[in-house]
């Protein structure tokens, strides 16, 4: 969290601008496991991308490139929906 601002430093009416606003790293919420992608088995079906509640599956164009662990909460859904078993849940460090 950045420093707390004064009332006269805030835009009127509580307006937030996506490009400026903070996004807390909710990856810390993971409770023991994180997804690991075996790109070799991935067929870029994008299902994991769509189902991820935390928009944490990173694409390169329309190909999967990885998981953004800053935001992944470790829900396992990607691994559940992956048709090829390319995603496995492994113990978080």
């Amino acid at each position: 969290m950045s420093e707390l601002l004064r009332w006269d430093e805030l835009p009127a009416g509580g307006t937030l601008r996506p490009e400026e606003a903070e996004r807390p790293h909710t990856g810390g919420w993971r409770t023991g496991v994180r997804p690991e992608v075996d790109l070799a088995r991935c067929v870029d079906c994008l299902l994991c991308w769509l189902y991820c509640p935390d928009s944490a599956i990173v694409l390169d164009g329309t190909a999967l490139s990885g998981v953004d662990l800053d935001f992944c909460k470790g829900c396992e859904l990607c691994s559940v929906v992956c048709p090829t078993g390319a995603i496995t849940m492994v113990a978080d460090e």
């Binding site: 805030l10 009416g13 509580g14 307006t15 606003a21």
Partner: protein
């Protein structure tokens, strides 16, 4: 007053409701969500007829409740459209939740209010309990004494609401029936003058600017709520200055000059009466009569109830011995609202204060009635009530 620059149409006999509808035609807002309630109906019916005939061009939204009327107005105003609405009494009560939110989202909506007593019992006539219900909401409230003033304030209101230092909803209040349904001479500005005065609508970062997305109405925890709320106090404070500037500019085109507090016969006054709304006119007659009889009585009419010009009031009433505050609303078990504001403004000063509650639910007040007040002994009196008032 430079008469050459005035841009007035000849006076017409218009009710306050008609006068406000005429102002709406001239300002020509983009979106007008409404829900009918007596005595606001002449305003929205007048406006609806103008839209049907093609003389006004806004989207008239006939919504299904006042809560939705103001909600739609918030959406429209933040989307980027000039937005007006109108209501009274139960309507204002039902939208109370959204009144607060509209202010905090800084939606510069203009709302005409035909003041009417709140239920219960249900009653359709004038008092100010509805306006008082939202006196903490952060919205601006201007009170008109007459149909002419209702018209004028309705033309001035968009400028005030939309001013970048203000960005708040403005309620233009007129007494239900007494003004909304009472026909009086009204001299409107001509259309061009209104257009020139009001100008184009502009809000920061309209939602419809889809290329520049913003998040509006987020959730604030204790770490930021206080600061975001305080912006409203600051905007209200700014509004006092902006009102004065705009009133000056308005005077140049109309020849009619408004002040946040209108002093009347205060020079040399030993006693002063403070009031809101149409009663101000009645009291002017009364004060004139008393002055003729040698009584040093003056009047302060509160035009801008929110922001409440506490500092100015202190200055105006610095010299009087006693001030009688007329409230057209009560707070059972509490303090009549205008009296409370006045008492707070004058706290610590030496002015003797008396509170008078009158006119609830349309009970009449006549110029003659004021004399009794000036000698009343009670801290709080109920003028016009049948029966000994309580607390005695």
């Amino acid at each position: 007053m430079t008469a050459t620059r005035l841009a007035l149409d000849p006076p017409r006999l218009l009710t306050g409701g008609q006068a406000v509808a005429e102002a709406m035609r001239q300002v020509d807002p983009d979106v007008v969500p409404v829900y009918p309630i007596t005595p606001q109906t002449p305003i929205i019916e007048g406006y609806a007829a103008l839209v049907a005939s093609g003389r006004a061009h806004g989207e008239l939204l006939d919504v299904e409740s006042e809560h939705s009327a103001l909600s739609a107005a918030v959406g429209a105003a933040l989307a980027g459209a000039r937005t007006m609405t109108a209501t009274s009494s139960q309507g204002l009560a039902l939208m109370a939740e959204v009144v607060y939110i509209a202010a905090s989202l800084r939606a510069p909506i203009v709302m005409a209010v035909g003041n009417r007593a709140l239920s219960g019992p249900i009653n359709i006539h004038c008092d100010h309990s509805d306006s008082m219900l939202v006196r903490d909401a952060g919205v601006i409230q201007l009170f008109a004494e007459s149909a002419q003033e209702a018209y004028d304030l309705m033309v001035l209101a968009p400028r005030l609401a939309e001013h970048p230092d203000v960005l708040l909803p403005v309620l233009v209040c007129q007494d239900g029936f007494t003004i909304t349904h009472s026909a009086e001479p009204v001299a409107p500005l001509d259309d061009d003058a209104v257009h020139a005065f009001v100008g184009a609508y502009r809000v920061p970062e309209p939602l419809l600017d889809v290329a520049h997305p913003t998040t509006r109405g987020p959730f604030a925890m204790p770490d930021y709520y206080f600061e975001l709320r305080h912006q409203l106090a600051a905007a209200q404070h700014a509004a006092l200055g902006v009102f004065t500037e705009l009133a000056e500019e308005f005077a140049e085109v109309s020849g009619r000059r408004y002040r946040a507090l209108e002093p009347y016969a205060l020079d040399g006054a030993e006693q002063a009466v403070v009031c809101l709304g149409s009663t101000g006119g009645t009291l002017k007659d009364a004060v004139d009569e008393l002055r003729r009889q040698g009584e040093p009585v003056g009047l302060v009419e509160v035009r801008s109830f929110r922001p409440f010009p506490a500092d100015t009031l202190r200055e105006l009433l610095g010299g009087v011995r006693r001030a009688t505050v007329l409230d057209r609303a009560d707070s059972p078990g509490g303090t009549p609202p205008l009296f409370a504001d006045v008492a707070a403004a004058l706290a610590g000063g030496g002015v003797e204060l008396q509170s008078v509650v009158y006119g609830l639910g349309g009970r009449d007040i006549h110029p003659e009635d004021i004399r009794a007040l000036l000698v009343g002994e009670k801290r709080r009196a109920y003028l016009g009530l049948r029966g000994e008032s309580c607390p005695a």
